[in-house]
């Protein structure tokens, strides 16, 4: 199987969906002639032209709202946010319009739109550019949110997101764009709402999404090598819909859970996972559920400190050892 980057995997998914469906159009800042601020859309404008790949001015509320309006008519826009942090100036459009219009119309309207872009800390760009709003989106019934951790998942989930008839917020990670994974050449689609066991184990479950999955995998290696603890790593992949059964199944298997989450802890995704576990698998637990989140302050610029503000394998190991 060829090794390709997370970035290329997304690029392939976009190209394949443009070819498959004439209503798919990519719109965003620098997506066309500039080839994408992070090169996710590289070559697509040259290949598919002005109609299918559209450069938007810096005007997120305007063009995201425009995409939502077009999606009500059956266009399937894939909107790029250079950073998900910039979604905050388009928040009314995303939450109130994409998120609520189906409900308020009593089911007469649907918005088959994808809003995608990176949502991560760890690149020393300061607090305004380092937001991880998957918990905010997941708190909005009507929206779906997906956070792929690998190139394989990014491609398969993107294809599912574009084909979905509801609005999907797709959150990538700039630190993963250049990382490579094996991705098959034949077509595949990964359904939303299906978690994936990235590493099997028996002693403790490390439950994560996005880049935190890679942090959990590194922690699992340390736990195995240094402590003889066999950790299972469950990648949620999509936050809403959520594969709750997979969460409960791994906890019932290992009886211990450490949740690894690049959200801030207060009302972060892992808070919801913890609540689910205590409510539905309380008797299966041999220890309290632990969480490793981004340290609870605005994202710091300092290149020395930002890496330790995010969840680290070492912090995960400490939490796991506390309960194993």
């Amino acid at each position: 199987m060829p090794l390709i980057t997370y970035r290329t995997a997304l690029n392939q998914a976009l190209a394949e969906e443009i070819l498959r469906d004439e209503n798919v159009v990519i719109i965003g800042e620098e997506v066309a002639q500039y080839n994408g601020a992070y090169k996710v859309t590289e070559g697509l404008w040259e290949r598919f032209g002005d109609k299918r790949v559209v450069d938007a001015p810096i005007s997120e509320a305007g063009f995201i709202g425009m995409g939502i309006g077009a999606s009500m008519l059956g266009i399937r826009p894939v909107m790029e946010l250079m950073f998900w942090s910039f979604a905050y100036v388009a928040w009314d459009q995303i939450i109130n319009n994409a998120g609520q219009v189906r409900y308020m119309s009593g089911g007469l309207i649907n918005c088959p739109i994808v809003i995608r872009g990176p949502a991560n800390g760890g690149t020393n760009v300061g607090a305004t550019h380092s937001h991880t709003p998957e918990n905010f989106i997941a708190n909005t019934p009507g929206l779906k949110v997906v956070c792929p951790a690998t190139a394989y998942d990014a491609k398969g989930l993107m294809k599912a997101a574009i084909r979905d008839n509801d609005p999907v917020c797709f959150m990538e990670n700039t630190l993963l764009y250049g990382e490579s994974w094996e991705v098959p050449e034949e077509e595949y689609v990964i359904p939303l709402g299906v978690a994936d066991i990235k590493r099997a184990g028996t002693d403790v479950s490390l439950i994560a999404h996005g880049r935190a999955v890679l942090t959990a995998l590194k922690a699992a290696e340390i736990l195995e090598a240094d402590h003889g603890i066999h950790a299972e790593v469950l990648d949620l992949r999509s936050i809403r819909p959520l594969d709750e059964e997979a969460v409960l199944a791994t906890v019932r298997k290992t009886h211990r859970a450490v949740l690894v989450d690049e959200n801030k802890p207060f009302c972060g995704v892992s808070a919801q996972i913890a609540a689910t576990i205590q409510e539905k698998a309380f008797d299966d637990l041999d220890a309290p559920v632990q969480r490793v989140c981004t340290l609870d302050a605005p994202s710091i610029y300092s290149p020395a400190l930002e890496p330790i503000q995010l969840p680290t394998p070492e912090r995960v190991v400490i939490k796991a050892l506390d309960i194993c």
């Binding site: 209503n23 159009v25 109609k51 938007a56 001015p57 005007s59 509320a61 305007g62 063009f63 995201i64 709202g65 425009m66 995409g67 939502i68 309006g69 077009a70 999606s71 009500m72 008519l73 059956g74 266009i75 009314d92 459009q93 109130n96 319009n97 219009v101 189906r102 409900y103 308020m104 119309s105 009593g106 089911g107 007469l108 309207i109 649907n110 088959p112 019934p141 009507g142 779906k144 599912a160 979905d164 008839n165 509801d166 359904p191 939303l192 709402g193 299906v194 999509s238 809403r240 819909p241 959520l242 594969d243 709750e244 919801q272 689910t276």
Partner: protein, 361 residues
């Protein structure tokens, strides 16, 4: 084509405009009846609101009826309409069922949004009517997107996107104007200028040279101002904008001067403080669009006073029946709370049945 509000212009009889001179008597009478339907519907809604039968807000359109009907009566099959929360007039003008509209106000299962939207959120995609939006100017990018969709599909059509004078200072509207001009999208922004953004007069809220529409100049967008009490003028000037949108795929900003008799919403506690009773009475007496249209049709000998009264009586009867329908309808069942959230769930697709979509119990 653009004009300033202050410029002295020769009076124009817009009845002679091509789009109006082609109108037959039956159509003119229908417009009278449709405007009356909006007014009588809302007067009845007000009664129920004051009786505590409705929740939330009720933003009445009374006084502005000629704007909705004058514009919407020009729509063809690829023309779309979207508006803000003062949306009953546009909804009835596009032909939404009055019973379903009244039932929605009462939050009933038979409401046009199954009791999920309320007064501010009427929708009828089958009639190219896309709401009914509660956040001021939030609908302006959506209207742009409807125009984008029409153009993307290669259709000859446009979107009439309504906003109030209180919406013109929101960023999303300006972003929409920029994109509309930049990408030559066939969207027509109709500013229904009723002079007050809630309790703040235009003079206290909007910086401008002569009028609000003139701001379009800065984006290179054509604009005009229409007198909203003159049904013929609203139609003539809207048709001009629609033709540009259809033939040249160009945006337009049309400001329509109008007036609302009631407060921003019925819950507007200061509705009679920020303007005088005399001012309101003056509009009702001299500028009421329905009264003026009725007089016009009588003068044209299209209507007699007696036939106009008969139409009014029939409309009142229709409204009474709609109200009875709404009162008699059932409240929505509790399980419908989880319906109409996700298309995939509602349609029981494999996608909609994969993973957990709803949380809580």
């Amino acid at each position: 084509m653009s004009e300033t509000k202050t410029a002295a212009t020769e009076p124009v009889d817009y009845a002679r405009a091509e789009i109006n001179s082609a109108l037959g008597a039956a159509e003119k009478i229908r417009f009278f009846s449709e405007m009356l339907r909006i007014r009588r519907f809302e007067q009845t809604a007000l009664k129920y609101y004051n009786q505590g039968k409705m929740g939330g807000f009720l933003h009445l359109y009374i006084g502005q009826e000629a704007v909705a009907l004058g514009t919407v009566s020009l729509m063809g099959k690829n023309d779309h309409v979207i508006t803000a929360y003062r949306d009953h007039g546009h909804a009835l003008a596009v032909g939404m069922d009055m019973k379903a509209c009244m039932a929605e106000l009462l939050g009933k299962a038979t409401g046009c949004s199954r009791g999920k939207g309320g007064s501010m959120h009427y929708f009828a995609p089958d009639k190219n009517y896309w709401g009914g939006h509660g956040i001021v100017a939030g609908q302006t990018p959506l209207g742009l997107g409807l125009a984008y969709g029409v153009k993307y599909k290669g259709l000859k059509g446009c979107c009439l996107c309504f906003l109030g004078d209180g919406a013109v200072n929101q960023g999303s509207y300006h972003e929409s104007l920029n994109l509309a001009a930049l990408w030559k999208l066939p969207v027509i922004y109709v500013i229904e200028n009723n002079q007050y953004s809630m309790g703040t007069s235009m003079e206290r809220s909007s910086a401008m040279r002569n009028c609000l529409a003139e701001r379009a100049e800065g984006y290179g967008i054509a604009w005009d101002v229409a007198n909203g009490e003159d049904f013929y003028e609203v139609r003539a000037k809207t048709w001009n904008a629609i033709r540009r949108a259809h033939d040249e795929s160009l945006p337009f900003v049309l400001e329509v001067d109008t007036y609302r008799y009631y407060g921003h919403s019925v819950a507007d506690a200061n509705a009679k403080k920020y303007r005088s009773a005399d001012e309101i009475e003056h509009y009702k007496t001299h500028h009421d669009p329905i009264r003026l249209w009725r007089k016009r049709l009588v003068d044209e000998k299209v209507l007699t006073e007696e036939s106009a009264d008969e139409i009014d009586a029939a409309v009142k009867q229709e409204v009474a029946e709609a109200a009875q329908f709404a009162l008699d309808s059932e409240d929505p069942a509790p399980e419908t709370i989880f319906e109409d959230v996700y298309w995939e769930v509602d349609n029981q697709t494999e996608v909609g049945q994969t993973g957990r979509h709803f949380f809580g119990d």
